[in-house]
Symmetry: C2
Subunit: 449 residues, 2 copies
Amino acid sequence: MSSESARSGKPRNRSDEKPLRLALLGCGTVGSEVIRLLHDQAGDLTARIGAPLEIVGVAVRRLGRARGDLPVDPDLFTTDALGLVKRDDVDVVVEVVGGIEPARTWLVEALRAGKSVITANKALLAEDGAALHDAAADGNADLYYEASVAGAIPLLRPLRESLHGDRVTRVTGIVNGTTNFILSSMDSTGAGFSEALEEATELGYAEADPTADVEGFDAAAKAAILASLAFHSRVTAADVFREGMTGVTAGDMASAKEMGCTIKLLCIAERGPDSAGHESVSVRVHPAMIPYSHPLAGVGDAFNAVFVEADAAGQLMFYGRGAGGTPTASAVLGDIVAAARNRLGGFRAPSESNYAHLPVRPIGEAVTRYHINLDVDDKPGVLAAVAGVFAKHEVSIATVRQSGREDDAKLVIVTHGAPDANLAATVESLSQLDIVRSIASVLRVEGGA
Amino acid sequence: MSSESARSGKPRNRSDEKPLRLALLGCGTVGSEVIRLLHDQAGDLTARIGAPLEIVGVAVRRLGRARGDLPVDPDLFTTDALGLVKRDDVDVVVEVVGGIEPARTWLVEALRAGKSVITANKALLAEDGAALHDAAADGNADLYYEASVAGAIPLLRPLRESLHGDRVTRVTGIVNGTTNFILSSMDSTGAGFSEALEEATELGYAEADPTADVEGFDAAAKAAILASLAFHSRVTAADVFREGMTGVTAGDMASAKEMGCTIKLLCIAERGPDSAGHESVSVRVHPAMIPYSHPLAGVGDAFNAVFVEADAAGQLMFYGRGAGGTPTASAVLGDIVAAARNRLGGFRAPSESNYAHLPVRPIGEAVTRYHINLDVDDKPGVLAAVAGVFAKHEVSIATVRQSGREDDAKLVIVTHGAPDANLAATVESLSQLDIVRSIASVLRVEGGA
């Protein structure tokens, strides 16, 4: 125990000083930071929990890598993660390895054995969260995963525990820092996607292979986790409609600005009736224009933010760092303290809430709005012909702007909300009109723009 | 149970169908909304908790007031709040009356008897939270008060439970919707305080007697609650330095804008060394200039937001509706579900964490920055004389702007951070200089402007 804890006296509510024993799976950026924080804040953590935390093993892929500066006994490193998880003297398992396997095997084993599990593994939770939740139920064990979405931002606990007296109707998030950095840079400098990506890579905001970020896979996994919590239903990554942001051009950003908007890669989860009128959820990730007046528009740099709408609470937003070793470790530590307190008190955290069993409706049934930029012939009757296509697909037009240039003209059309399938069919039909020379861009519009 | 719950089947984790019995103290704006939500969302709440909630009594000041449209049996109303609290068939007490007494007596009684208490009573928590926390410890009972600060925004649970693995260094909040509405209006329209207050009153954002809001009493109570949670120490309303915002003029707002800033009424709680180097906390409420680039600057209308800085998590912000019957009821409902789940599981929520016992340092020792607007004689040597006063009080000047007008001139000085006492002494000394004709305004500056 550090001197700080000694100075502040014995914790008030508990005198149990038997340590809680942690197994750490993974010792990369986040894992190292978890070790450092557990060491540096030992006194405070002991006072808050009522007992000290002790690392009893750290599973790594290869021994012998230089980890000399970490405040942990080097003898605790092992390459046998499964063996570590199975040890009787482990109370809490912290997984910061990522990926589906072997992480799933380790965590299922730990949970079934009644060990508390803290994981930052968004891919596993989004692909097969059911395996973990079921194992947690079998073992009557705690499963916490605050770090899996939006890094340091306390978001999942509020959704799980603060808003459970309310009815969440919509969650709109900027949950990928890399793409937000790129889009913020495109907005402020007028750069194109490639140029902005290059800058992000140089500054360490984008990985050498940025596919998971720019194609929206990372955001889709987080969308599935958020939708599951918000709507008390099981939603997996496969349920999420996903469109990346590599197609967003400098021209799109300029068009957005003309409308008083910026473009963000959004994850959107909402509940509402499907085409047959049954309550269902729609979960999607795609770039979209949002007005500058929307709180999400001001989320710059690599920050994350999640905007939540609920019947009684109204509009809420949670903002902070979505990635990075230290912010992610903050979320992991918060979960460790919660799990440790629960073990000492003989409690269990609220378990998975999936009673609502809401089905996921396809993207075609999601109500969206389109911003369509057309190059058309500049002759009488063009607007009538174009408007006729929208009418045929039962899409109502909100605004049209027309600007002539010699013999051709530009039409910028923003629709009212309509089923995405109708909007997509409208675009397809427009592309077949003779008078339409090209469809310069199509972007969805969110946030009441 | 509603048809929705019936449709979604039996809750997965619990089959205990014995209702949890609620006593509601108060039936005004928030209380009525709590009753309505408990009724409308009964099916969902039962599924989330594992047992139904049942209101067994509602204490009001006077019977006979028309409450006919509320979905609750009129026979449940009583004027005997203490009698209701003492009943053996009450599991959870929800207090939305406000004020110190008799609320304190009722809640202490309930907690000592082991009943779970949910309260929105910021004044009581800030003045004598110790009485409630001690009673909760005595009765081994849950005490939840999410609705007491920032209405619907899930803020206290994140501070209590998500960031307890981290070290919070600073909390900066806009926690009073009335004053934020007034200041946002002054910023956007150029109106003066009185005019903006009048508008706020007409629109229902300000009460007939706005003293508690505009003089910062409401914000100070919330600051005490936030500081206690953030720093694991007991901080009361009396510890909070408080300066209202009635002195903010249209001219101040114009000066702020020239600096790229707006003015907000902020509550600020931070930890740091006192003058003797001992770790302590500073808690204050006052108007301050913050740069438009700060996330809090964009919080308009009557919205609330709280900006949290922590060692590992970095910068976080929580945003939403801070007041109103329905948003406040959302927070109360969230606490009811948590308390109800705990009772069913035989758990107890994390109790008060005050192990750090950090002392509160006086405002004079808080490090702040000043923006000072002086009318001075326009003659050689004026700046040297003025700068000499700052140097004498060991206050470092960050920027000076001078603009001449015939025979007098205007000096706008922004300081670096210095102990507030030194800054106050500097202003006092300046007022005594012959060459200083008047001190047009003095405002603190926050947020790195």
